[in-house]
């Protein structure tokens, strides 16, 4: 992995850890405990299953493609991160559509804003990389710079699914009252 990318990666990791700490402290201050009800726990279990099977499928497909083409499609760490983002996306989207992503009483507005922020940060990194001449694909091989693209796609999927579900819920709310 190139040294400049390691620094970008560490910065991203630091941002994620800082965000996690800030959210945890805010939740403790507001004495809000994230809790899922029995139906949500069941739905989350099914989503974990789907994410696990998706990751297995992804590993098999990537492995078989490398074997058949007799060359690596991307560096191992790039393939690993894309797989993690892919399965995390499957879990998040399945949870969102089974109404089990947000805890009891939790509003989706915060997660919409957070997803938009992560997408924006990744867009800045992608554009900077392109500007610096760092290609996402080189000689038919995905470079480490594609990790940001995969991360961006994950959060775009979460943002879009949350938005669609929120709008659908508002429509059903009006009819159920």
């Amino acid at each position: 992995m190139p040294r400049d990318y390691i620094w970008t990666f560490l910065l991203g990791l630091l941002f994620a850890v800082a965000l996690f700490v800030i959210v945890s402290v805010m939740e403790k201050k507001q004495k809000q405990e994230r809790r899922y009800d029995e139906r949500q726990l069941q739905a989350r279990g099914r989503a974990y299953q789907a994410a696990f099977l998706s990751l297995l499928g992804y590993c098999v497909v990537v492995g078989m493609l490398s074997l058949c083409l007799e060359r690596e499609l991307c560096p191992v760490y790039t393939a690993m991160f894309i797989g993690v983002f892919f399965s995390a996306g499957v879990f998040a989207v399945k949870c969102i559509f089974s109404e089990a992503y947000f805890a009891v009483g939790e509003r989706p507005g915060y997660w919409l804003a957070l997803s938009a922020l992560v997408v924006a940060i990744n867009m800045v990194v992608i554009l900077k990389n392109l500007h610096d001449g760092k290609a996402i694909i080189e000689n038919g091989v995905l470079t480490e710079y594609s990790i940001n693209v995969a991360c961006g796609i994950l959060f775009v999927a979460i943002f879009a699914a949350t938005l669609i579900k929120t709008l659908k819920d508002r429509a059903s709310d009006a009819s159920e009252r």
């Binding site: 029995e38 139906r39 947000f102």
Partner: protein, 66 residues
């Protein structure tokens, strides 16, 4: 199968799904799923709903045989 008994008991108290959900500590979507018959609640949740609405298990969840 839709749980119309639950829906009508809730409506009799003029409660929204959200109000019932808050009273029993679940999400509004869970109450909606029970009323639509998409989710089969545990006995623990059934009892909590009965207590919140002042009804018995029979009155809300017993299904007459066809």
């Amino acid at each position: 199968m839709k749980n119309l008994k639950l829906k009508s008991a809730r409506a009799a108290l003029d409660w929204s799904q959200q109000q019932l959900a808050d009273a029993v500590g679940v999400s509004r979507q869970t109450v909606n799923a029970i009323e639509k018959g998409d989710y089969n609640p545990t006995i623990k949740l059934c009892l909590a709903i009965c207590r919140a609405l002042g009804k018995t298990l029979d009155e809300l969840f017993w299904e007459e045989e066809p």
